[in-house]
């Protein structure tokens, strides 16, 4: 737990300084989760502020400080989910859709080791986000929390208020869909390679 229970108690009783400390202690982790959930760096802070605003307004509904972490995750996932729903209309061209040659030439043009690393990271981000686009936004956030953030099924149960078995089924199906998208991409790339 990143935040002290007494701090949460003080914030619940209207202590703004305590709330400020909570934000400072947990904002990096929240922003990181949002960045991985929404995949758009420029909007991460905006969504993050939305999370903390909701936290401020709903802190009095928190039953006990013990459930603060899943509570904060829940607020984070909901804010990211709302953002993704707003963005659904935007149909942007992704790097993952570009032919490999174009991506390679973009890498080469970047030049330098650091730039090359950054370009590689950007390519990984775009590629994984492209794969995750094959599942619904709800399943996508569930997969990211489990597979990327490393939350256990017990923790996810507290975040989603869904039974562990139901979560397992949802995770399995979502993973199968992503695997299908991955194998389709790999086979497509192999076919394109053999035609050259």
């Amino acid at each position: 737990m990143l935040v002290d229970a007494t701090l949460i108690e003080r914030a619940r009783n209207g202590d703004d300084a305590a709330f400020n400390e909570i934000v400072v202690a947990s904002r990096r982790r929240v922003l990181g989760t949002i960045a991985r959930l929404i995949g758009r760096r420029e909007d991460v802070e905006d969504v993050g502020q939305q999370v903390f605003l909701r936290l401020y307004l709903s802190l009095d509904q928190l039953r006990t400080p013990d459930v603060f972490d899943p509570w904060l995750y829940r607020l984070t996932v909901n804010a990211a989910y709302d953002y993704l729903r707003r963005q659904r209309r935007r149909n942007e061209m992704r790097m993952a859709d570009l032919p490999e040659q174009v991506v390679m030439s973009a890498d080469a043009a970047a030049g330098g080791k650091r730039e090359h690393e950054e370009a590689e990271k950007a390519r990984t981000r775009e590629y994984v986000q492209g794969l995750l686009a094959s599942v619904s936004e709800a399943d996508r956030s569930l997969l990211i929390l489990k597979e990327v953030e490393g939350l256990s099924l017990k923790e996810l149960e507290k975040v989603y208020h869904v039974k562990e078995n139901a979560l397992k089924v949802r995770l399995f199906r979502a993973r199968q869909r992503v695997l299908k998208a991955l194998s389709a991409q790999r086979e497509g790339a192999m076919e394109a390679g053999s035609q050259r």
């Binding site: 904002r27 990096r28 995949g39 802070e45 502020q49 994984v128 794969l131 695997l179």
Partner: protein, 120 residues
Amino acid sequence: MKMKPPDSNSAKFDRELDDLFAAYLQACPDPEPSPEFMPRLWQRIEARRSASFTFGRLTRAFVTAAAAICILLGLMQAYLPSQPVLYTQTYVEALQAENSTDAPSMVEALFVEDGGPSYQ
């Protein structure tokens, strides 16, 4: 029914997906918040607080006005002279009175239509 043989490709893709998720975590590290993060957050909180305060005041004013109107109407009901009663019978009583007339109106109407003898 034959069982499908285990697909070596699926295990390969499974591992590859795990590696991709690990690489994704490396590619998306926790970002450092900008210096404007906290001031902007407090601005938002203040804006929401003032909106809630205005809404609260409006609600209180509305409730007070509604309570005042209720009291006024109650006082009017209690102190003003009561209106004359228009109906003294119940619906059932009125229906009974209507049916107890001597001449059946249906029969009378038939006589009038045929041009036959009437009671008049």
